[in-house]
Symmetry: none
Subunit: 251 residues, 2 copies
C-alpha cells in the first residue's frame, strides 16, 4: 500500500467550535502544515477579531473557510474521514491511535477529512458514525483534554510525515473509475438502505436499533468499500426489496 498523502487532499472539519480564538489558531496550524481546506459546521464568530488575530498569517484560510449546517453535509464528498475521540471505548476495531496513523492511511488521491468536535464535549456518537476511522490522540498523566487547535496541530503534524516529498509533481492517478473509495454520502446511502431492509424484514428490534446499526457501520468502515462495492450491496438490497414487494402483490 502506498503511504503518501498530499496536503491538498486533506480537509479539516470543525463541528460547532465555540471559541473564535480556537478557530483562528486552527487556521494557523493548517497553514503551517500546508493544508488549506477548512470546513466549519455551525461555528461561532469565525471571522471575528479574535479568530483573525490568532490565525496570524493564515487569515486567508479563515476567509475562505466553507460553512455547513450539518456534519453530514460537510463530509459528503470525502472518501475517508478520521473522527477524533477522547476514548476509543468499544469501537476499538475502527480505532487508530495517532502515532499509528501510517497503518490507516488511504491509497493515493483519496479525499481525506479530519473531523474535530466541540471544545466541551467532542463529537457525538452520530457524528462518529459518519467517520470511517476513529482517531485517538494519546495523552499521558492526568490532563487528558487537549486544546482544539493543539489537537489539529499534532494530527496534521503526524499526517505531514507521509506527505509525498515531491508534492508539486502530479502523481499518476490510481483513480481508474471502479476502484475509487466510496464517498461518505455513498456510504450513508448504503447504510440507510440496509436499515430499511433490516426494518422491513423485522431484523431490527426497537430497543437495539442503534447498537446494531453501529455494528454494521463499523463493519463497512473496516472494509473500506469502493463505489463499486456500494453499488453491489445496494443492488443486493434492492433485489431483496423487489422480491418482498412482488410477493406482497405490490408489483
Amino acid at each position: 500500500m502506498s503511504t503518501t498523502l498530499r496536503a491538498q487532499d486533506i480537509s479539516v472539519i470543525l463541528v460547532e467550535p465555540s471559541h473564535p480564538g480556537n478557530i483562528g489558531a486552527v487556521a494557523r496550524a493548517m497553514g503551517n502544515m500546508g493544508v488549506s481546506e477548512l470546513r466549519l459546521v455551525r461555528p461561532k464568530d469565525p471571522l471575528g477579531v479574535e479568530a483573525r488575530e490568532r490565525a496570524a498569517h493564515a487569515e486567508s484560510l479563515l476567509v475562505n473557510a466553507s460553512l455547513f449546517d450539518s456534519p453530514e453535509a460537510a463530509v459528503e464528498d470525502l472518501q475517508m474521514v478520521f473522527g477524533t475521540t477522547a476514548r476509543l471505548r468499544s469501537r476499538r476495531d475502527r480505532g487508530c491511535a495517532l502515532p499509528d496513523l501510517e497503518s490507516h492511511l488511504p491509497v493515493e488521491n483519496t479525499r481525506v477529512g479530519f473531523m474535530f468536535g466541540r471544545e466541551s464535549s467532542g463529537l457525538t456518537n452520530e457524528e462518529l458514525a459518519l467517520c470511517t476511522t476513529l482517531l485517538h490522540i494519546p495523552t499521558f498523566g492526568e490532563v487528558s483534554s487537549l486544546n482544539l487547535s493543539h489537537a489539529v496541530m499534532v494530527t496534521l503534524y503526524e499526517a505531514s510525515r507521509f506527505y509525498a516529498e515531491t508534492s508539486d509533481i502530479e502523481t499518476p492517478t490510481s483513480q481508474n473509475g471502479s476502484m475509487q473509495l466510496a464517498s461518505i454520502s455513498e456510504l450513508e446511502g448504503l447504510k440507510s438502505h440496509l436499515e430499511n431492509v433490516l426494518r422491513t424484514t423485522g431484523f431490527l428490534h426497537a430497543n437495539q436499533e442503534t447498537g446494531m446499526m453501529e455494528r454494521f457501520s463499523d463493519f463497512f468502515a473496516r472494509a473500506r468499500p469502493t463505489d463499486l462495492d456500494v453499488r453491489m450491496w445496494r443492488g443486493m438490497l434492492h433485489r431483496v426489496e423487489v422480491t418482498i414487494q412482488m410477493l406482497n402483490g405490490e408489483y
Copy 2:
C-alpha cells in the same frame, strides 16, 4: 542505542514569552504529554487570568513553574538541550528535524530540556549556542511561523513516541471472547448463506455468479469479520429468508 525517554526527565524552557495566554496553553500541552517541569525565563505575567484560563486543568504546572533571570541559569543542570529554531542555517551539523528526533535521543536517564524562544523572534544565536542540538519543526506552504504552544505541543508529542511508560490507550486485544476473528468455516458458512439469498432474490445471474461471489468474498476478507459479525450478517440473511418464505405461504 536505547530510544526511551521518561516524561519526568523532560523540562520545557520558555525564554521571554510575551503572551500570558501562550504560557498557559504551553502548560496545558505539557499536562497532556505528562511533562510537568516548566521553566520560565523573564516571562510576562505567567500567573495572570489569561495564562490560568488557557492552562485549563494544568494550572498547577503554572503555579509550580520555576522562574529564571537568564537562559544559562535555566538549563545549567540539564544534560541535553534541544533549542528550537525556524532555520537550521549553517548549524546544520547540530541540527535535527523534529520527525527525526529518534536518532538524536539521549541515553536513558538523561535530563533533557526543550527550549523555545520569543513569539516574535525565537532564540538568539547566544541562546542557541547553549543548546546541544538545534531542533527544527518542518512546515509546508507559506505560513512558516508556529504558535508557541503549538510548537511545544508537536515537540512533546514527538517525544512521547519514545516514552518508556504507556499512555492512556488500552492496547487493542482483539481476542477477548466475542471479539475473536471468525474462523474460515464460519466465513464460508456466511458466504454460502449469502449466495442462497442472492439466488432466491434473483440478484445472481447465471453468467456472472463466480465474479460476483468473488467480489463479496473480497469485501468480507477486507473487513476481517469477527464471529459476532458473522452471526449478525447471518441473522440479517435469515430474516430476509423468513420474510420471503412467510409471504410465499411456507410458514
